[in-house]
């Protein structure tokens, strides 16, 4: 009787232990999976941030190239000043329009505001003879909140049709990201 009872208890205990083992296996597996997934999603969100950052960089690069390619500021073909040439008078005219507050230029200003977005665009004109640098602020829509910046430089020449001089220049384009740093 006692032995039978002991054998029965042993059987139950063994069954319970086996049951417990299986349960532990399942719990541990789920636990490892959850840790793995958490880690995976954390890495994913990190890579999403990197993806956004990459997109912002592409945006800054595109903006720099597009500014240089704007027909509104490029030297006329008939002037034959070579590729990547900015007409000084066109650039300064556009800069004046964008800095204007008059109602007659509002639609034009809105157009460029939509085109350029949140950015600052400066043109640095290098007078290598007199060792001078003139900076023309073409456009400035810097947000007040502290956002991340993406900056691009690209060289061009700057031709003044009145003075007849073509100088080395570069565009300094800073694009502001929509997210906080």
């Amino acid at each position: 009787m006692k032995r039978h009872k002991r054998m029965r208890n042993d059987g139950e205990r063994r069954g319970q232990i086996q049951f417990g083992e299986s349960l532990m296996v399942v719990i541990i597996l789920v636990f490892i999976m959850i840790i793995g997934m958490v880690f995976y999603f954390r890495v994913s969100s990190g890579s999403v941030q990197k993806e956004l950052s990459y997109r912002e960089d592409v945006g800054a690069v595109t903006l720099a190239k597009n500014v240089l390619a704007l027909p509104e500021v490029r030297c006329g073909r008939l002037a034959a000043r070579g590729p990547g040439c900015i007409d000084a008078l066109k650039l300064k005219a556009l800069a004046n329009i964008l800095a204007d507050h008059g109602s007659d230029t509002r639609s034009v200003r809105n157009y460029y505001k939509d085109l350029f977005g949140r950015a600052t665009i400066k043109v640095h004109i290098l007078d290598l003879i007199d060792n001078n640098e003139e900076i023309v602020l073409l456009y400035n829509q810097r947000p007040e909140t502290n956002l991340t910046e993406s900056r691009q430089f690209i060289f061009s020449t700057f031709y003044d049709p009145v003075q007849g001089r073509q100088q080395l220049a570069y565009l300094n384009v800073t694009r502001y990201a929509r997210r906080a740093s």
Partner: protein
């Protein structure tokens, strides 16, 4: 004592309780396994769904970036391989203004204003795994901005000549241009148009120079559109046939155009509203360009070149003439340029071009543009 009592008896079968325990054990294992699988199924489904959404958003961004970057490199033909999808080029206008974007498949659109300032002339929808893009500077007559045309190899463009020797060369010279070689353009004689065969393309676009779209075979009309072009110097008239029907096709709209780039844009716009919407973006650009030229001209007159050219007084007269032309017109879609250009190709621009050419002959005077 117990041993003696139990001797001779048969061995006991597992107890009912033990049996139940074993059953529960298996049931529990089964339930646990199912929960496990369910958990994974939900996880994989959400990851795949997120990944697909991310892919589609990434695609939309990629296509928009390609278009915006290509706009900065004029006269360039590019072929971009993309995942096989349906790419919809949307340009519409509501009370607040224009909204223009690329929609990939049925996915939500992240930015409905992504292409608001980029004139993109394309069929409403381009299906496939490739996008062909060509950028052309709209010179009217000075460079105003880039116009982009988009399509792929599933559309056939049939350039139909007109009866009469004088205009027969026109379609040939038009499509000989190297940059257009990538698009499926085929010259065709108007005399044979009625028997034009279906060669398996998704779409056909018939460009008729002074021709009649009635000759387009009825069998092709449900997947065809037509554009009749009447050229006069640098401009002309475009008549759109967005729906051909089965009888005599009726025109959707007749529009005056100026500049070869605008003609190309009309060829690749398979419907009138899309063409007008995108042309509006180009006109908006022209508004800014005219204002810049006005101010530039004022600066030239005030600053005066040093040394002063011998023919400065003659140049000054030409500058004043140009200033008058520029002052009279505003280029926005509802402005006076659009109104003037609606009846006369180019509005004041041909006259401005003449003034600039006269300045070119003066040699030392800065040009208007």
């Amino acid at each position: 004592m117990t041993r003696a009592r139990n001797a001779g008896r048969e061995p006991r079968s597992p107890t009912r309780r033990a049996q139940l325990q074993i059953s529960f054990h298996f049931i529990f294992a089964l339930i646990g396994g199912l929960l496990f699988l369910l958990f994974f199924f939900i996880l994989i489904r959400s990851v795949v769904h997120t990944s697909e959404e991310g892919d589609t958003r990434g695609l939309s961004f990629k296509v928009e970036s390609i278009i915006r970057t290509a706009a900065a490199t004029p006269d360039t033909f590019t072929v971009t391989s993309l995942p096989t999808r349906d790419y919809r080029f949307v340009c519409e206008k509501d009370a607040e203004g224009v909204f223009s974007y690329v929609q990939v498949g049925q996915a939500d659109v992240a930015d409905q204003h992504a292409l608001d300032h980029v004139p993109v002339f394309a069929p409403r929808s381009v299906e496939g795994d490739e996008l062909f893009t060509l950028t052309r500077t709209w010179e009217a007559p000075f460079p105003i901005g880039s116009l982009m045309v988009v399509d792929n190899n599933r559309t056939r463009y049939v350039i139909v000549d007109s009866a009469g020797a004088l205009v027969q060369e026109e379609p040939q010279s038009f499509i000989k241009e190297q940059n257009l070689a990538g698009f499926n353009m085929q010259p065709f004689s108007s005399a044979m148009l009625a028997s034009y065969p279906d060669t398996g393309f998704d779409r056909y676009r018939f460009i008729l120079f002074n021709g009649n779209p009635s000759a387009i075979p009825v069998a092709l009309r449900d997947k065809s559109t037509a554009l009749v072009v009447q050229r006069h110097d640098k401009g002309g008239t475009l008549t759109f046939y967005d729906e051909l029907g089965t009888g005599i096709p009726s025109a959707t709209a007749s529009i005056v155009y100026y500049g070869d780039a605008m003609l190309l844009a009309a060829i690749f716009s398979h419907d009138t509203p899309s063409f007008l919407c995108n042309r509006g973006k180009a006109y908006e650009r022209l508004d800014g360009a005219l204002l810049i030229l006005q101010r530039r001209l004022t600066d030239i007159k005030n600053q005066k070149p040093n040394p002063l050219p011998a023919e400065w007084n003659d140049c000054l007269k030409l500058y004043n003439s140009a200033a008058g032309l520029l002052q009279a017109f505003k280029g926005d879609p509802t402005g006076s340029f659009a109104t003037a250009a609606a009846s006369t190709p180019g509005g004041p621009l041909p006259a401005l071009e003449q003034v600039n050419r006269r300045l070119l002959n003066k040699q030392d005077c800065p040009l208007i543009y």
